[in-house]
Amino acid sequence: MINKKVNTIQEALQGVKSGMTLMLGGFGLCGIPENAITELVKLGVSDLTCISNNAGVDDFGLGLLLQQKQIKKMISSYVGENDEFERQMLSGELEVELTPQGTLAEKCRAAQAGFPAFYTPAGYGTEVAEGKETREFDGKMYVLESAYKADFSFVKAWKGDEAGNLIFKGTARNFNPCMCGAANITVAEVEELVPVGELDPNQIHIPGIFVQRIFQGNNYEKRIEQRTVRQRN
């Protein structure tokens, strides 16, 4: 077993520098690497390019990095759940690259899987395809999209072991598995770090080979963005 465990958040983020490209898992505020984001704020690294489906809210998630103006460029499919994002974007301080959600997921998966590029129908005929190669296969048009290149991936899992094996819970899975192994260094934080051998080898969502560092996360807030309930009769 190759041990990926690190004992401190400082060790987990060692090597993160200003100007780097980071991938961050999560959909909305669900399944985001809360501990890594907190530490990125503490580190004060800036000019970051962040690849993440969303950009958090004003006071949580990636919004915390936006508040500190640590992000130079956001690559997302849906943003603007927060005012500071909107202000920075409209003022030109923040560069934003909007990518269709399925394309975003597959650009991560392509990086993980060693594919340089892929053809997808998403965005054909729209401004997303501008300047990109398009091509017809079997009478349908596709756009050529490239794999992402990132320095670090920060993902959050439910359970993990010291070998770096990960299991996710519910829809907190989302982009996290696709981002594992898609950057030079993948850092996984987990709600529960279990001893090696405890996870069923049949039930591992992400084998440890895609993860370089793993640590036991703390104080998860898991904020709910849209609390919706139904009435009991």
Binding site: F27, A105, G170
Partner: protein, 217 residues
């Protein structure tokens, strides 16, 4: 004339036995409330769940179980969770049979615009571009006109496109339209709405053939 629930109710009739369905935010989400309960249907949400159920009872919300609108949800027996790449494999691979989504504009050639208004804050396309580019069967739920009374059923979209030539059916507060051969074909009228009213509210080419029935909801 239909309200939002009416539109949702009419669209629910398009949902067939054995369908996997992706519902967009807004009116489409309401469709789930009106689907016949004697047919087998599963709802997919692109953030990674198949087999969505109703919203949870108060106190039973789980922050780790949400839909693409970031709302807390529940799942039904037979549900599954998966990652975003797999989710869009379902969509791109046309395993999802029906996509229902909103629009700002549709055009008679099937183009749709629903993600960006130049000059306004742009929130992004989310999964909409993947959905419209992939689905065989797309139904658009929308108001026929904007708040100024201008038609949103157009010859040509004026807003940046989400997808080209993909819309097959439009259900509005006034009518059910089929999109084919570069025209909107009027299929049904909303209760109490005349063909003339629909004609007036439609900027795109409207084909009216024979007697147009009123919808049965």
């Amino acid at each position: 004339m239909l309200d939002k629930n009416g539109i949702a109710k009419r669209i629910a009739k398009e949902v067939q036995n054995g369908y996997y369905v992706n519902l967009g935010i807004g009116i489409p989400t309401l469709v789930a409330n009106f689907v016949r309960d004697d047919i087998e249907v599963e709802f997919q949400s692109e953030n990674g769940v198949l087999g969505m159920g109703p919203f949870p009872f108060e106190g039973e919300e789980d922050a780790d179980i949400i839909n693409a609108g970031k709302q807390t949800i529940t799942t039904l027996p037979g549900a599954s969770f998966f990652d975003s790449a797999t989710s869009f494999s379902m969509i791109r691979g046309q395993h999802v049979h029906l996509t229902i989504l909103g629009a700002m504009e549709v055009a008679e050639n099937g183009d749709i615009a629903n993600w960006k208004i130049p000059g306004k804050m742009v929130k992004g396309m989310g999964g909409a571009m993947d959905l419209v580019a992939s689905a065989e069967n797309i139904i658009v739920a929308m108001m026929h006109t904007n708040k100024h009374g201008d038609s949103k059923i157009l010859k040509k979209c004026t807003l940046p496109l989400t997808g080209v030539g993909c819309v097959k059916k439009v259900v509005t507060n006034l009518a059910v339209l089929e999109v084919k051969n570069n025209a909107f074909h009027l299929i049904e009228r909303a209760p109490g709405v005349s063909v003339e009213e629909i004609q007036k509210a439609t900027e795109g080419t409207l084909v009216v053939e024979g007697n147009i029935p009123e919808m049965i909801l």
